[in-house]
Symmetry: none
Subunit: 225 residues, 4 copies
Amino acid sequence: MSSTPESAARHRRSAGFSGTSTPRDLPTTPRGLRTRTKLVEAARVVFERDGFLDARLVDITTEAGISAGSFYTYFDSKEEIFSAVLAEVEEEMLHPDVRQVTNGDDPVSMIRKANRAYLESYQRFSKFMRLLEQVASIDEDFRELRRKRGESFVQRNAKSIRQMQQDGVAGADIDPMMAASFLSGMVARAAYSRFVLGESWTIDEMVDSLTELWANALKIETPAS
Amino acid sequence: MSSTPESAARHRRSAGFSGTSTPRDLPTTPRGLRTRTKLVEAARVVFERDGFLDARLVDITTEAGISAGSFYTYFDSKEEIFSAVLAEVEEEMLHPDVRQVTNGDDPVSMIRKANRAYLESYQRFSKFMRLLEQVASIDEDFRELRRKRGESFVQRNAKSIRQMQQDGVAGADIDPMMAASFLSGMVARAAYSRFVLGESWTIDEMVDSLTELWANALKIETPAS
Amino acid sequence: MSSTPESAARHRRSAGFSGTSTPRDLPTTPRGLRTRTKLVEAARVVFERDGFLDARLVDITTEAGISAGSFYTYFDSKEEIFSAVLAEVEEEMLHPDVRQVTNGDDPVSMIRKANRAYLESYQRFSKFMRLLEQVASIDEDFRELRRKRGESFVQRNAKSIRQMQQDGVAGADIDPMMAASFLSGMVARAAYSRFVLGESWTIDEMVDSLTELWANALKIETPAS
Amino acid sequence: MSSTPESAARHRRSAGFSGTSTPRDLPTTPRGLRTRTKLVEAARVVFERDGFLDARLVDITTEAGISAGSFYTYFDSKEEIFSAVLAEVEEEMLHPDVRQVTNGDDPVSMIRKANRAYLESYQRFSKFMRLLEQVASIDEDFRELRRKRGESFVQRNAKSIRQMQQDGVAGADIDPMMAASFLSGMVARAAYSRFVLGESWTIDEMVDSLTELWANALKIETPAS
DNA sequence: AATGAATGAGGTTTCATTCAT
DNA sequence: TATGAATGAAACCTCATTCAT
């Protein structure tokens, strides 16, 4: 693994991921922009292949086809370029299919669709998700950053649950926030088990099972079932 | 992660966690045994405090009050002593309260008890659990090791679900293995959110909520409720 | 220092301050002249602020508001632009008040005026004087250059002392060259103590004290005192 | 000189010389003590030969005959080992001839003896004195440290001057502190001119001249002259 | 069995200088 | 002339591991 003397040394002093450093301005010239892009793409390849810890800056610059010193024209540290990769991937995750949950659907269909969308996205970005998991386990700041982002997602789910309770569709004795948090966690964990740990379920199986558990858990009444 | 060609060079002296190295025999003399124990305890302190990556062998030996060189009388690497710590903690986790689920209880009570036991154990060992999470995210071998151990736990749960289905207590259309895996995952994730990420739920709230979600998910009929 | 065999390798690209390089011609175009001037002024600011060693060329070009590459249109090295700054400051030091010692004055008044002029000039250029001190301590060539320049100053003083001896005003048993050198050194050192090290004497106190010591040292007879 | 790209980089971040860091304990074992001594001696050789700036740690360890990594067993930085060299040389400067100014002597003899002792010491340690000068010009902390040490020396001289004034031996209208400071500065500067800049005076000439100037400056009455 | 000093590989980082535009 | 991105040569520093005592 990664605790050889060399790599161990590399991890000792973290530069911090979030908040502490303001991202520097993008380069103004086309050439600079091109190089920066090459660097970020190379970093993603290397990070996903080797993990954050084993990724050496020289691997990244080599992959990008530039000299080691040029790295510092664009980033100050491995952490900083990781943040850039993160931003890029998030961009990519959101853009292609504007996660549109058709609101006309019945509750269970909506849950099913959301679960499928989540799993498919996780699959597509599975290498990156493993990377995220690693960085989160290494860096407290990043962990906190991630938690905060998850919170808003949970809140939306909680709101939706509350609505269902008011509509008499979901069980009234359930705490919406905790339920949203725990059920989202269940799905996230399942995706991790499948795409990082390598469990052998099919996505369809997973969607079916998770949707049923989720719907049952909320005691959602399916009128014509 | 640990076998891509690019990073191979840096792993020359890597030890790995599982399989590759047989744990060496315990020292024969009482003095040796005592020193080994001191080392393992020190390692646990340092690992839990600094994380696996930032823990230096010299920190461990200093904490143990022995010289740096003596480390190698007992262990070959950081990975090996980590395994020893792991074994020690597992011992400790099992010993004190032999997780006895009284089989006379009704299903929901049993689930509730299991959930509570899990959360309380997680709380007691929260520092260690965070450490486990980190090491799992770093090392593929360890991840696999962990997955395997979890499997038997899931299998037991699955068996129990199957039993409830046969008893007509739980919904018949549910896949027992997946349900067991996903619901266990839900609880594990909740514990992680609470004790590592720092969510502010009380354990009682969590037990109530998780138990209800779990029981609902399985459509467990509670006759006299 | 700059020619020991061991460190020679590191000096391959060293420029040196004096002799080795002929100052290149001034740019012909007005624009070029303007840019050069901006550079020299920026260099002075940066050198005085950060010292010679910590001054980076990029700091200088940034301060000048030009690009890093343009530096080499005008100068070959940090040493060369330092020489230009030196020339500029020397120009400035001489220009404003043409150090005219009224020859009608009595010897002690002349000494007093010279001392005051020296101290006031040192104060005005104290940042630069500290810089000079630093560069002298770093570079043997520059040290030699400076010594030579000081020599003519000492010689003038020595001549004046010799004159006073012939006039019977100063003690005859004094070596004029050494006296000139040592007493000038005393004043220079006092100025350094005051304006670089930060001693808290007032200039008036210093002038009084230095003048008295100087005059006494030469046994100057003050007829009507 | 030393502003090649390589060495410039080395100077950028100073670790500070004084106060900021507590000197670590001496090694306990004889072997460690021996190695540390070798290092300090090697550092002195390299510093005196190459100057502080051009001295590389690897030069020092090579000179000491140990590996580069071992440096950090004893010192944290170039600044720290410089402090150790400084301490060693100060030890050496004080030991051999316990600067005993025979108090029975007449004032001028005492001044002469002190001047000669100073110059001879400066000559013996001229390489080190040049080094001191360099470090002082580079590092503000060290400059301050040095100033403070000089102060007590000046104070002693001032006290002696005050005594002479009370005894009617020295001119009463002289400020003792300033006179002490300026005259000491004169001697120090003369020594620097001679042994660092390379002026070609003999020590005897210098002693004669400096002593006469000093005595005259204080208007010391030499009864039988 | 214990000690602790010594080793050495190699990634990171800096910035004067070059060069294509 | 001007630009500013790209280069590349080293020095620094760390710490798991070895080894003489």
